[in-house]
C-alpha cells in the first residue's frame, strides 16, 4: 500500500540546476507517467526515486518513509531499464533468482515466485535459456519478471519500450497495463512518447527543463492543457497555433489573426479586448464546410486509410487538419474549414498560459 511523495525536489550537478523544485503526489496503485522532451529531467527524477542519484534538495517519501538517505537496495522498489540490463552469463531463471538469493529467500519460495512471474509473462518455456538467445520483447519480459519476483512496493520503468519495434511496442504497452491491473502496484513510468503516456497512464506528469508543466489525467491534459507547451506536446499531429488579438467584431469578441483572418471564439471565453493571444485548435477538431467557414489552400493530402491528413495554408499560417472522411481536393485548390468553437484553446501570447 504505497504512495510516493515528491516534495520540492531539486537536483544540481555542481553549480547547474537541472531539476528545480518538483512536487508530485502519487497515490497507492496509480500508474503515473513522466513524459517530456529529451533533457527535461524525467529520467533523472526517476533515478532519484530509485536511489541511483543523489537528491540535492527536497524530500522523497515512499509510503510514509523519507528515503533521501536510504540506499537503493533498501527502498523496496524494482526498476526496468531501457536496455533491460540482464546478466548475460546467467539463465533467465538465474536472472530472476539473483535478487531473491541475495535476500536469503529459501529455495522453494524462490522457485514458486519465479514460476508465478514466468507464468504471468509467458516465460515458462524460456527459463533455461540465456539472454542472447532471446528476442528483444522476450528480454524485456525477463527484465519485468526480475522486477516482479521481488514483490516491490513501487515499480519504476525507464523508457522500457524504446528499443522495440513499433508493432511490439503496441503489444507490450497493453501487456504492461494489464500487468498493473493484475498486480495493483504503484508504477512510475518514464517515456518521451506521448501516445504511450496517453494510453497507459492514470495520471501524466508533463515536464520541461526540470519543471512540471502540468500534472493531470490524460483526458484533462488533452481537453484543458494548462499552457501552450502542454497543448503542443499532447496529441498527434500536434495542435495548430495562430497568433493574433482579440477584437470586438460586429458587437461580440472575436479572434483576429495577424493576417486578418477572423476565427470563432469559444462561447464561455472572457478575454478583454486588445489582448494578444495564441489561438489553438487540434487538427481533429476541424470540420469541412461546403461554402461557409474559412478559406484554406490545400498544400498536401495524406490519406492513411482510416483518416485523411491535410496540410493547409490559412492566410500566412500553416495548418494541419485530420478528417474522418476522404478529402478529394486537389493541391492548390481552396477548401473551407471550420474549427469547432467549443474546442478552441486560447493562450496568452507571451506567457503561454491558458486563458480559455
Amino acid at each position: 500500500m504505497t504512495s510516493v511523495s515528491i516534495d520540492g525536489v531539486r537536483k544540481a550537478y555542481g553549480a547547474t540546476n537541472v531539476i528545480h523544485g518538483v512536487n508530485i503526489e502519487i497515490d497507492d496503485g496509480e500508474f503515473v507517467v513522466l513524459v517530456g522532451p529529451s533533457g527535461c529531467g524525467k529520467s533523472t527524477l526517476l533515478r532519484m526515486i530509485a536511489g541511483l542519484e543523489e537528491i540535492s534538495g527536497g524530500q522523497i517519501r515512499i509510503g510514509s518513509r523519507v528515503v533521501n538517505d536510504v540506499s537503493a537496495k533498501d527502498r523496496d522498489i524494482a526498476m526496468v531499464f531501457q536496455s533491460y540490463a540482464l546478466y548475460p552469463h546467467m539463465t533467465v531463471a538465474d536472472n530472476m533468482a539473483f535478487s531473491l538469493k541475495l535476500k536469503g529467500i529459501a529455495k522453494p519460495e524462490r522457485e514458486a515466485r519465479i514460476a508465478k512471474a514466468a507464468d504471468i509473462l509467458g516465460l515458462t518455456p524460456m527459463l533455461k535459456r540465456y539472454p542472447k538467445q532471446l528476442s528483444g520483447g522476450q528480454r524485456q519480459r525477463v527484465a519485468m519478471g526480475r522486477a516482479i519476483v521481488r514483490n516491490p512496493q513501487v515499480f519504476l520503468f525507464d523508457e522500457p519500450l524504446s528499443n522495440l519495434d513499433a508493432k511490439l511496442r503496441v503489444e507490450m504497452r497493453s501487456e504492461i497495463k494489464a500487468l498493473q491491473h493484475r498486480l495493483k502496484t504503484t508504477m512510475i513510468y518514464v517515456t518521451h512518447d506521448q501516445i504511450e503516456a496517453m494510453t497507459m497512464a492514470d495520471k501524466i506528469v508533463v515536464m520541461r527543463d526540470g519543471v512540471v508543466e502540468q500534472c493531470d489525467s490524460p483526458l484533462n491534459l488533452y481537453d484543458r492543457p494548462a499552457n501552450k507547451f502542454v497543448a503542443a506536446f499532447i496529441g498527434s499531429p500536434s495542435m495548430n497555433f495562430i497568433e493574433g488579438t482579440i477584437r470586438t467584431v460586429e458587437g461580440h469578441p472575436s479572434f483576429v489573426s495577424h493576417d486578418g483572418v477572423i476565427l470563432p471564439m469559444p462561447s464561455a471565453a472572457v478575454v478583454p479586448d486588445g489582448v494578444s493571444v495564441t489561438y489553438g485548435f487540434r487538427p481533429e477538431h476541424l470540420a469541412l464546410g461546403k461554402y461557409d467557414g474559412i478559406g484554406a489552400i490545400v498544400r498536401l493530402v495524406e490519406p492513411t486509410g482510416s483518416e485523411t491528413m491535410v496540410q493547409l495554408r490559412v492566410g500566412e499560417n500553416d495548418v494541419v487538419g485530420v478528417f474522418r472522411e476522404r478529402v478529394s481536393a486537389a493541391e492548390g485548390s481552396t477548401i473551407h474549414i471550420q474549427p469547432d468553437p467549443e474546442r478552441v484553446h486560447l493562450f496568452h501570447a507571451e506567457t503561454g498560459l491558458r486563458l480559455a
Binding site: 537503493a72 522498489i77 540490463a85 539473483f98 541475495l102 526480475r146 521481488r150
Partner: protein, 300 residues
C-alpha cells in the same frame, strides 16, 4: 558451310568461356587453400624438425638431415632420458612451472582488482595512479636490474622463487591492468545499477557479475603472462644465481647450447619439452585468446 562453321566455333568458344568463368571462383578457392597449407607447413616445419631430431640417435643427427627419417625411420628415446636425468631438464621444468604458475595467477588476480578499482571507484589520485602505470608500462626492465639485485641481496630475496614472482608480476601488472580496464569499462553501467538495486554489495557484484563476464579476457591475460614468465631468460638468469634448486628451463637450455660435449640430441629433446608445455596451454585455451583480445572492442 562457312557460316555454319563460324556459328559452331562461336558457340564452342562461348561455351568455353562460360566453363572457364564458372571454374574461376573454384580455382581461386583452391589457390587460397594451397597458400594456407604452404604457410602452415612452413610455420610448423621448425617444430617438426625439432621433434623428429629429438627422437633420432646422435649419430644419425650428425650425419644426415631430419627429413631422411621419411625414408629410413630410426627412432630412439635416448635423448630424452639423457636430458631429463643427467641434464636436469626434469628439475628445470619443475622450477619453471613453480615460477610461472603462481606468477600467472598473481598477475591475473591483481590486474583484475586494480582494473576494477580504476574503472569503478573514484578516489583522489586516480589520474596520477593511471599515469604512473603508463610510465611503468614503458619502463625498460633493464634499468631496474642493478638496483633491484642489490635490494634483493639486502633483503634476502636473491636466489629465491618468490623473488622472481615479485619481479615478473610487478612488470606485467601495468599491461594486465590496462588490458582488463578496457574490457571492464565496456560493461554497461546499467548492469551495475541493476545489481545494486537487486541488493548486491560492491564485492558481491565483483564476484557474481564482473568476474564471470571477464573470463575470456582473464584467460587471454593468463596465457600471455604464462608465456612471458615461462620464456623469461634474463630475470631468472640474474636473480636466481646461487640457488640450490635446478635452474629454470630457459637458463638450462642457454647453458646447453654453449656446451657441445653431449651433442645436439639432448638439446633437441630439452628444447622440445620446453616448447611443449606452452604449446599445450595455448591449444587448450586458444578460443579465449582471440575472443579476449577483441572482447573489449565489441560490446556484447
Amino acid at each position: 558451310m562457312t557460316a555454319a562453321t563460324v556459328q559452331q566455333s562461336g558457340a564452342v568458344s562461348a561455351a568455353a568461356t562460360q566453363s572457364v568463368g564458372s571454374k574461376r571462383p573454384r580455382l581461386l578457392r583452391w589457390l587460397v587453400h594451397l597458400v594456407v597449407i604452404v604457410f602452415i607447413a612452413l610455420w610448423f616445419m621448425p617444430i617438426m624438425a625439432l621433434l623428429v631430431s629429438s627422437f633420432r640417435p646422435q649419430a644419425d643427427t650428425a650425419s644426415s638431415g631430419w627429413w631422411t627419417v621419411l625414408v629410413r625411420p630410426v627412432f630412439t628415446a635416448d635423448n630424452y632420458f639423457l636430458a631429463l636425468d643427467q641434464l636436469k631438464v626434469a628439475g628445470s621444468l619443475g622450477t619453471s612451472l613453480a615460477i610461472a604458475i603462481p606468477s600467472t595467477i598473481l598477475t591475473v588476480m591483481l590486474s583484475m582488482i586494480g582494473a576494477y578499482a580504476l574503472v569503478r571507484m573514484k578516489f583522489p589520485g586516480r589520474t596520477a595512479l593511471s599515469l604512473l602505470l603508463v610510465a611503468l608500462l614503458i619502463t625498460p626492465p633493464q634499468i631496474t636490474l642493478v638496483p633491484l639485485l642489490r635490494l634483493y641481496n639486502a633483503v634476502g630475496l636473491a636466489g629465491t622463487i618468490p623473488g622472481i614472482w615479485l619481479y615478473q608480476v610487478g612488470f606485467t601488472l601495468p599491461f594486465g591492468i590496462f588490458l582488463l580496464r578496457g574490457f571492464l569499462a565496456s560493461i554497461p553501467q546499467e548492469l551495475y545499477e541493476s545489481a545494486n538495486l537487486d541488493g548486491a554489495s560492491e564485492l558481491r557484484t565483483f564476484f557474481s557479475i564482473v568476474m564471470p563476464l571477464s573470463r575470456p579476457i582473464m584467460a587471454s591475460l593468463g596465457i600471455m603472462a604464462f608465456l612471458w614468465s615461462w620464456n623469461d631468460l634474463l630475470i631468472p638468469l640474474l636473480f636466481m644465481g646461487g640457488s640450490g634448486m635446478s635452474p629454470p628451463i630457459t637458463v638450462n637450455l642457454a647453458g646447453l647450447v654453449a656446451q657441445t660435449t653431449q651433442g645436439q640430441g639432448p638439446l633437441m629433446a630439452a628444447t622440445f619439452l620446453s616448447v611443449a608445455v606452452p604449446l599445450l596451454l595455448i591449444i587448450s585455451l586458444q578460443r579465449y585468446f582471440v575472443r579476449g583480445i577483441l572482447g573489449g572492442a565489441v560490446k556484447g
